[in-house]
């Protein structure tokens, strides 16, 4: 337990010391999101319609932006050997790493999302479902992203490969997250169902990805 905390506090401390990385992710999320009103035009109705989709797609791309520093630095400086050999099970290492990634990327994105929502004219009733959907979707991104980062360790152009592996897996998350926001925005109701489905996906990822990530990490160091 204290070993897991040591790893979490090390990763968070490193994240804070290099806080420019976090700022870049959030800025990318906002700036790239703001491009849409310029490209599509300021028609409020259209913006309201695409807002949820834009926010969730931008969150995915922003989270992917930071995945290359999840395992790559540890792999290069030899810490990964130490983590693989540590008394701590490697599955827990994978879980802690994903948690650190979520705290330093997912959480700031959730905080920044309402700003983007304002700029995209997201209607008032849709904010809460949008935040709930993000709160469920970003951990999935961190968990799946950790797996992708572990799988592409040591390969050339790993970042691009990682994106190609992860984004297709993100499609169902996107569908249900946007459906939840739209249900609230159009007043259909039933957003809870979509959010529950998202929660089920998050739990599935939580249960399965640490094992797969640990196997990929063992492969990477051998």
């Amino acid at each position: 337990m204290s070993a897991a905390l040591a790893l979490l506090s090390r990763d968070l401390r490193l994240g804070l010391r290099q806080s420019v990385d976090v700022v870049i992710v959030v800025l990318f999320f906002l700036v790239a999101g703001i491009l849409f009103p310029f490209a599509i035009g300021p028609e409020p109705r259209i913006l309201a319609q695409i807002a949820a989709g834009v926010i969730l797609v931008m969150a995915a791309l922003s989270a992917l932006l930071s995945l290359d520093r999840l395992y790559q630095p540890d792999f290069e400086d030899g810490s990964l050997d130490g983590l693989v050999l540590a008394p701590l099970p490697l599955e827990i290492v994978a879980l802690v790493k994903a948690l650190a990634h979520w705290l330093s990327t997912g959480l700031p994105l959730i905080v920044a999302a309402p700003v983007l929502g304002l700029m995209l004219n997201l209607p008032g009733p849709a904010y809460l479902p949008m935040l709930a959907a993000l709160a469920l979707a970003t951990p999935i991104l961190s968990l799946l992203g950790g797996l992708g980062a572990a799988l592409t360790l040591g390969s050339r152009r790993g970042g691009v490969l990682l994106t190609l592996i992860i984004l297709p897996l993100y499609v169902p998350v996107l569908i249900f997250a946007v459906a939840a926001v739209d249900a609230a925005r159009l007043g259909f109701g039933g957003q809870e169902t979509f959010l529950l489905l998202l929660a089920a996906m998050a739990l599935t990822c939580l249960a399965l990805t640490p094992w797969a990530t640990a196997a990929a990490l063992r492969q990477a160091v051998s």
Binding site: R10, Q18, G78, S79, D81, L85, A86, P87
Partner: protein, 220 residues
């Protein structure tokens, strides 16, 4: 009177080991036997497979042929027990440039279950004056010394098998002497050590294993 910390009958063996990296066979038919209180120095040219042998011994990689045995049982049978009994220091230092000297050591200490204060360990390689310095400002030798400081940590269950990859690289004479003294104490306490080194390591009573250059023999 020396106090034996480890059991008397430790036995670490490699039998008919072969290691393949990519398409190349690094070595084959390699045997070694290491008992309580013994050290083994791996010698050989660059790229002959010294580091690879250490990674096999750590269980990080698997041999292409042959096996590694602890007390007669394959190390893969209880991989967790093997991980707990070894301390592996690779040629990469495993240090984070953004953390201070103390934070770096503290992380490895907490990860491996060390609960005692780190002052003694920091003193061993004279890192205490640099404790608050971010590791990015350390010289190559200082980085190495910080990595080696992990040898002085005293976990509740101290690792009996030390696997050190080029531990003397970039070390000055004083630090080399400290390292040798630490290794000797570890051996006297009944520990085992495997080292890859180009340095002669004077004063260390050890077996030597020469890994032959097998470059001509490409794997088919």
């Amino acid at each position: 009177m020396v106090e034996r910390k480890f059991s008397e009958d430790a036995l670490f063996e490699g039998r008919r080991l072969a290691c393949q990296r990519g398409e190349r066979l690094l070595f084959q038919d390699l045997d070694f036997v290491l008992r309580t209180g013994q050290a083994l120095i791996l010698e050989g040219a660059n790229g002959s497979g010294k580091s690879s042998l250490l990674r096999l011994a750590a269980g990080l990689a698997r041999p292409a042929f042959g096996g590694l045995f602890w007390g007669g049982a394959p190390i893969g049978k209880d991989a967790e027990a093997h991980r707990r009994r070894l301390l592996y220091l690779g040629h990469a230092d495993g240090l984070k440039a953004g953390l201070t000297v103390y934070e770096n050591l503290d992380f490895w200490a907490r990860l491996t279950g060390v609960t005692t204060p780190l002052d003694d360990a920091l003193d061993s390689f004279d890192m205490a004056p640099l404790a608050d310095l971010p590791a990015r400002f350390l010289s190559a030798g200082q980085r190495r010394r910080l990595a080696l400081t992990r040898l002085s940590l005293r976990p509740a269950q101290p690792p009996v098998l030390w696997l050190l990859d080029e531990p003397t690289t970039a070390l000055d004479a004083a630090a080399q002497a400290t390292l040798l003294a630490l290794i000797r104490r570890h051996l006297v306490e009944g520990g085992l050590a495997m080292l890859a080194s180009h340095d002669p390591l004077p004063g260390l009573d050890a077996q030597r294993l020469r890994i032959e250059d097998d470059h001509a023999e490409a794997a088919v």
